[in-house]
Symmetry: C2
Subunit: 167 residues, 2 copies
């Protein structure tokens, strides 16, 4: 039964009903496991900001948040991150502000992503478990398989984490 909930939500979203509210509601109440076993952590939207970023090619604005363990590690320059650290990547399509020229604001949120540190459990992927969720549903195994290779290729020297703390 549980597996039908995301599909139903997607249908509702597609119908344009409560588009922005429902996925968040679901995420908070019953996190869904990604293939890695990573779930949507409760309360992640209330975490502190590590830094924003922006991609021209995808027309996206992102904000990376960290749980308490992650923020403490960032502020103490602790590398590698300790077990229990979780990073959340919120992404939104950037859309032009209707109220100010040459300014972009968040539009739809195409996905949310998490990196969960557990050196032993995720030893084969740098100690990090990766979870990507689209409309509250985990991305495919094939999709998830692309996470670590990119982090490994580009930011191995920063414990496989792209984002630096922006004071």
């Amino acid at each position: 039964m549980r597996r039908f909930v995301p599909a139903l939500l997607a249908l509702v979203a597609a119908a344009g009903v409560l588009f922005s509210a429902l996925p968040v509601l679901t995420a908070a109440e019953s996190p869904i496991a990604a293939p890695s076993g990573v779930t949507i952590p409760k309360g992640y939207r209330n975490w502190q900001v590590v830094a924003p970023s922006q991609r021209d090619d995808k027309d996206e604005i992102r904000v990376i948040l960290g749980n308490d363990i992650a923020m403490k590690a960032y502020r103490a320059n602790t590398l590698p991150f300790p077990d229990g650290a979780i990073l959340a990547k919120l992404a939104w399509m950037r859309v032009p502000s209707k109220e100010f020229p040459k300014t972009f604001v968040p539009g739809e949120a195409p996905r949310i992503e998490f990196m969960v540190k557990n050196a032993k459990k995720y030893a084969s992927t740098g100690g990090w478990g990766f979870g990507r969720f689209i409309n509250g549903k985990p991305a495919s195994d094939q999709d998830h398989a692309t996470c670590f290779p990119c982090h490994e290729a580009n930011v191995k020297g920063h414990d496989f984490v792209f984002t630096r703390y922006a004071p």
Copy 2:
């Protein structure tokens, strides 16, 4: 920070430029009032995210944070914002990521800004006190005089606040 004070004072006194250097030193320890009386709130960097934004013309990425009163109001769609609500606008120059193409990350922070709600105290500026700080020092009166007219002209219908909550 405290340990550097004696050495810094000696250096500054020797150079004979006591007053030009001290305000920066003070900023970290005790926020300085802007002309409006707005100060840098302690712990603002730990506040929750309202939303990011991005300006092509200024090459900046921003994140707006809110204190607990502001976040509660946002999530309950409460307008106008209640007294005590404070919004913080963090801005960074966007610089190309060295690790990923077509991606921008935070560079230098040109300023931080705050909006403090107090309907009575700031009645002449929509109930909001505006504070802009550059390198820890308040911007000029002339500079601050530009804040409210722009908010009034563009977002009067949203209690003079540009940023909407991005779920």
